[in-house]
């Protein structure tokens, strides 16, 4: 058992749920409201120093009684130690939680993926939008257990929506390599980019 689990319990008391050991890894369950404090403490306290957020993901179980789990894999590069922090959410309730992007910049895309696949909203995320599916995707959150394997729409409707999508609209202007050259683009291309669903164009009025 990772000693961080005991240290967490001594510091945060009731906000820390059970701690279990699985395959040599320590899993600590944390209350949703205390997540940001716990994470900041784990990152900044001497002796903890979990400076690397390896992954953020989520699990929904087939057993409908089990809660949806949000999983944070932490690693201390300094101390060469791993810790897994889990938060339990009610899949039928409000799937909202504080974002940890302020602590680890790398959580940005990881949380976007969890939002895209599970519909968990991260409060305080700087740019929370879909990352794998396109932004106008209207069928829901594909990795949820109530999501049908082949999607909610008919295949023809899926093809229609896909063919009517604007390929450039999947990216913000900041992500496009032409963003810096926006002023030099031909007017029709500029107009096409302007019409995209992104609606985030620098240097526009």
């Amino acid at each position: 058992m990772n000693p961080s689990a005991e240290a967490l319990r001594a510091t945060f008391g009731g906000a820390i749920g059970r701690a279990v050991e699985s395959c040599g890894d320590t899993i600590v369950y944390v209350d949703r409201a205390a997540l940001l404090d716990v994470m900041a403490w784990l990152r900044d306290t001497p002796g903890q120093q979990y400076d690397y957020l390896v992954d953020v993901t989520a699990v929904e179980y087939r057993d409908r009684e089990r809660p949806l789990e949000l999983v944070y894999n932490l690693r201390s590069l300094e101390r060469r130690t791993d810790l897994r922090v889990k938060v339990e959410l009610d899949p039928r309730g409000d799937l909202a939680i504080d974002s940890v992007v302020a602590l680890w910049r790398g959580a940005d895309w990881l949380e976007r993926e969890v939002y895209d696949m599970f519909g968990v909203t991260f409060r305080g995320h700087p740019d929370l939008r879909r990352i794998l599916m396109w932004e106008t995707y209207a069928e829901g959150y594909p990795l949820r257990k109530d999501f049908p394997l082949r999607g909610r729409f008919s295949r023809a409707e899926q093809v229609r929506q896909a063919l009517n999508a604007n390929p450039e609209a999947h990216y913000s202007m900041e992500e496009l390599s032409i963003a810096e050259a926006y002023d030099e683009l031909p007017p029709d291309m500029r107009e096409r980019l302007r019409r995209g669903e992104r609606d985030k164009i620098p240097n526009s009025e």
Binding site: D146, R150, A165
Partner: protein, 206 residues
Amino acid sequence: MKRVLETKEVSGQSPNYLLAKFQDLIDWAVNSSRANSLWPMPFGTACCAIEFMATAASRYDFARFGMERQAFSPRQADVLICAGRLPFKLAPVIRRIYDQMPQPKWVISMGACASTGGIFDNYAMVQGIDTIVPVDVYVPGCPPRPEGLLYGVLLLHKKIRGESLFDRTPRRDEQPLDERGLRLPPEQIDEISEPFGNSIHQFRSG
């Protein structure tokens, strides 16, 4: 031109015999040129692209069949080779690449996923690129061996040699998207995309 077409249909008769022979000669010359200098536009999205690269490399070397230069721009390409699975997110991309290719153009659908969706019978994957662009040759396999792709290319040669400049019926690859933005009627897309094989045992949940 319509009159020329009519004369071809009665080519057995003496006044038009030489004209028909002349047309055949032109067709032979044009089709041989086209078939023997196909420039492929590789659209590799998955493991099929690895086999495609093997086909292009020295051991199998499809330059032997006229595919000397791979056109990485659709503007200089004759045949679009979709090697690999196609997610819905890439569907408008392959359609735009196809639209950008000049006539005459052909499409090879390489591998099970490009042809039918393959094992990816799920929410994210196009169930056969023929719902997006017209396909001339389907190469089965997961992924197909280079011999398979070469055989597909030779089949395409055969198809090209059977075309005629004097056949004025509209080419099916000139069919644009309709007002719904679809290439085929919706019910036909649903039918093409129906599960088959092992996927019929997987049902929609929820």
